[in-house]
Each structure stands twice: as C-alpha cells, then as structure tokens.
C-alpha cells in the first residue's frame, strides 16, 4: 500500500516519516542540553550586526529581487539570452513555433 518499486529501488513514505521523526527526536534531545536561561529585554536577545545599530523591523526584510543575487549575477550571460528570447511579442511566439516545426520536419521527413 505504501511502497512503490522503481525498477532499481523502492520508495516508502512511512519509512521516511519514521526516520524523520527519529531525527527530530534526536535534535530535540540535543537541544535540551543547551542553556535554557536568558535575560529577556536585554542585549542578549538583540541581533548582532557587526556592532552596527539594528534597523527598524520593516527595513530588515530582504526583497525578493535581491535574493539569489550571486546566482543570477554569475549567470548574467545566460539571462541576457533568455530575456532576449522572451520578447512578449505574439509574432515572436509564432516564430518559435515555426522554427521548431521546421526543425522537426527536416529531421523527420528528409
């Protein structure tokens, strides 16, 4: 009921869930060894930003377009090509259809 065979292996979600529960239990136990006492409302609970003052909460949010900056910057060349492809022009959409049609026709028919 739970196991699927993939031909070269298997997948059983129940085994996975049991493994995850055990892992979480271990984490919980290890967490229990930590210090439980801290002073609320003191500097202990403040973020440490290399000694700089903490911004207001609203300004601390990293915006979506700034996430994965390193990844997108390193793939700048590829993104330039892909953005150029996505013109938003319906005639270009049709052109891509014709291009694929022509390629498939050439390979299949000739």
């Amino acid at each position: 009921m739970f196991t699927i065979e993939t031909g070269s292996g298997f997948w059983n979600p129940i085994v996975w869930i049991i493994a995850i529960i055990i892992a979480y239990l271990l984490i919980y136990i290890i967490r229990g060894f930590g210090k439980t006492h801290y002073k609320k409302g003191t500097e202990q609970v403040k973020s440490f930003l290399s000694g700089n003052p903490e911004y207001e909460k609203e300004k601390m949010q990293v915006k979506a377009s700034n996430l994965y900056w390193g990844f997108t910057t390193s793939l700048k060349g590829l993104y330039a090509i892909l953005k150029k492809m996505h013109t938003g022009n319906a005639t270009d959409y049709v052109l891509w259809f014709v291009v694929i049609l022509a390629i498939f026709l050439l390979i299949e028919v000739i």
Partner: protein, 518 residues
Amino acid sequence: MNIPEYTPALIVAIPLIGAFLTPLISRVHDKLRNIFVILVLVINASLVFLLAYDILKNGIQTYIFGARNLSYPIVRILFEVDAMSIFMAIISSIIVLVAVLYSWSFMKNNTGLDKYYTLILLLTAGILGMVMTGDMFNFFVFLEITSIASCALIAFWTSQAESVEAGFKYIVISAMGALFVLFAVAILYGQYDALNIAQLADVMQYTFLDKIALVLLIVALAMKAGLVPMHMWLPDSYGSAPSTISLVLVGATLASLYGVLRVVFTLYGNALSTIANFDVAVNVFIGWFIIALAILSIIVGVIMALIQTDFKRLIAFGAVAEIGYMFLGIGAGLAAAGTAYGNVALQGGIFHIFNDALDVGLLFLVAGAIYYATKERSLNSMGGLARNMKFTTVFFIIGLLAVAGMPPMNGFASKLLIYESTFQLNPILAIVAILCSILLLAMFVKVFYSAFMGPELPKFKKVKEVPKSMLFAMGILATIIVIFGLFPEIILNNIVQPAADALLGYSEYISQVVAGGI
C-alpha cells in the same frame, strides 16, 4: 455495477447544457447560480468516477453519436474512453470543481459572473470532450471550444490591460496551433478517408504525408501544452488570468499534452517500431526529440522562474518546468519502449500529470489568496504574511514541497520514477532533472521567505485570512496531495498503471472499434 452506455456522452453534455442554463439562472439569483454550477460539476465528477470504475473493471467504453449502422453514408462521431482518457477526465473534473468552489468568494466582487461561470462550464465540456473523443476532427472541434473559452477567461479582468493582451496572445497561439491540427487531420482524411482514431491507426502506412501530419500534430499540441521554446504564451496567460482560471488552464494545457500522447502512442502506435531515418526506429526518434524539448523546458522554466518577482508569473515558469518533467518521462518511455525502465518512465510521466495539476494548481490558489487579501502580486511588496494568514501559509508549504519533489509529497513519488528510469536511459538526463528540481525548491523558498516570512509590514497589519470557501478549496487540493504522497502505490496501481497500459496496448483501442465492428 453497470452504468448506462451513454455516460461518456452525459459527461460532456451536462457541463455544455449547464453552460447555456447558467445565464438564465443567474437572472434569478447569484447564489442560486453558484449552487447550480457547483451541482453541475459535482454530478459530472460523480459520473466521471463511475465511468472510471467501470472502465478499470470492464475495459474500454464507446459511445456512438449518429449512425450505428456501418452502411453508407456514415455520419457519426465516436467517443472511445480508455484508462488514459478517464485518467485525464478525473484530473479535469477535480480541478474545475475546486476552481468553482474557490471562485465563490474570490470572484464575488466581480461583475459579469454569469459569463464567467458559463465560460468555465464550456471550457470543462471542451477539455472533457478532447480527452474522451475517438475522432480526430471532433478532437479539433473540442480543442477550439477550449481555446475560445480559455481566451475569454484569461481576458476576464478587462480593466487590466495585460489581461486583455494575454488573452489576445493566447488566441493567436491557439488559432495557429488549431489550424495546423486541422491541416494534419485533413492530410489523414485525404489519405485514408477516415477520421476515427482507431480506424486511422489500423490502416496507418507511415507514408511521407503521414510523417508530415505527425510532425504538425506533435508540434502544434506541444505548443498548446507549453513546451519550450513555444511556451512564452503560458506565463503571460497564467500570470494575467484570475487564479481560478490559471488553475483551470492547467487542465486545458494537460488536455493538449494528452493529445500528444494519443497521437504518438495510439494513432501512430502501429508505426512506432518502423525504422525511420538514420536507421533509428520511429519511437526512438520521436522519443529523443521530446526528451530534448523536455530538458530545455525544465532548464529554461526553472532559470526564468528564479528571477521573477510577480508571484503568478513565477509559478507559471515553474509550471513550464513541470511540463518538462512530464514530457521527460513520456519521451523516455517512448525512446526506451519495450524495456522495463521505459515502462517506469512512462508511468512516472503520467503520474506527474496528476501531481502537476494538483501542486501547481494549489500554488495558483495560494497566489490568488494573497492577491485577495493584500491586492499585491509583486513579491517585492510582500512580507510577513504568515502572521495573519496561517492556513494559507500551511497550504503554500504543502504546495512548495510537492512541486519541488520533496518527500513525502506526491511530487517526489512521480519524480523518483522519472529520475531512476531516465538515469538508465542516460544518466545526464537524471542529473539535469534532479539539479533543476533543487533549483525549483530554491525558487519557492524565495517565495516563502519574501511573502510569508520576515517582520510584519505596517501595510499588512490589517490583513486577514481568506474566506472559508477559498480555504476549503485549497484544503481539498492539499489533502489529495498528502494522500497521493502517503499512498503512492494505490494511485500508481489503480489509475496510473492502467493509463500507461492503455497507451502501450494501443491494439486494444483499435480492435475495440475495428474488430468489434463498431
């Protein structure tokens, strides 16, 4: 249990009649209209499930419209419903019903809802017709019905210029695709004097003209399914339509994917083992062509999604990648036809069709819920929504894990089948697929962080959780996702495997009509 022989006809007729009655009932009362539409779709879904039970127990079901006698002139259309057809019908029935339940609150402040519900029912009839018909010309007719209804629904928010533009682009692409489908149907009819799929498949010679028809059908339907590089209409359409329509459009897109499957595996089933150019069998040739486009779809879909800041466009690019995964499984199943891992790949591809509809559908509904609550679409303007929208956040997490193929969700089960089988075909395919799946997770983690996490923004202090009907609709999809994830074997053995067998056992589809004398 025996069900009436006209059930396949009823499944298309009920939403069609419902569509024409909706504007009339709308004149009486808006709530009555909503109840009526839900009732129509519940009855229809029940019939689909009954028919599915019957087909899985007794085999292919046929229904003839028109002449039952084979004497000339034969004027008739045949519905031939096998396990693959009913598999697609189940998906469509569920997502349309969920979309309508969600619409109750989501669309309540809009005008012109009589037209909105009429078009949804027409679209439903079109999708169900496409997946159940056994006739090529009839397939084209339902494709057109689906396209026209989809176009009007994409442009439903006429006050937004981009919706109208997206609707225009969709109809241009659809008209172009449908025209080439019609051309291919004409080529086949001109050669064999037949339009019935089973009849055509029986006499298929794989001539020069047949090759042209095959290419036209595959490319036109692949474009309608959103395969790269013919996918560009998809982010525009999915991104600009109301979220409920984006969900239903997933069904329409998958119906085109079904068209590719039916054409390749059934219509050209006899010709698949023919040796084509470069001393390669046709199945290997077409399989690798599909695989190449599928890999391109996965890579382009994921990479483009990563830079999107519009929530719905991001999901739409994610959907392009997901379509790539389905085609990867199907292509691998075709290229390695006859091998054990080829069968596993095909099963994985088919299983992923269902999972994609559920996962991507749920994410579109979450995007709709956020838009409903905040009127924001840009991820740059969002933040901290988990504080006020707890249920929506949970549904998003379920959708995120499922679409990224994280265990124990449904997406993992189908992707695992695809990874392991494609690895045996060519390890590079599996590596690319796994890496892109990780990127897919990264992309939705970005959404989770920017929309739901972080400090509470002052402008969202008064934001409340969405109405119960919207939560209920999202809950249905989330529940099915979890159930499919926990009990993959039940789904695989009872609906996916029979669907894959129906595609591979095309001779049964043919003999039902030809040898059966229908």
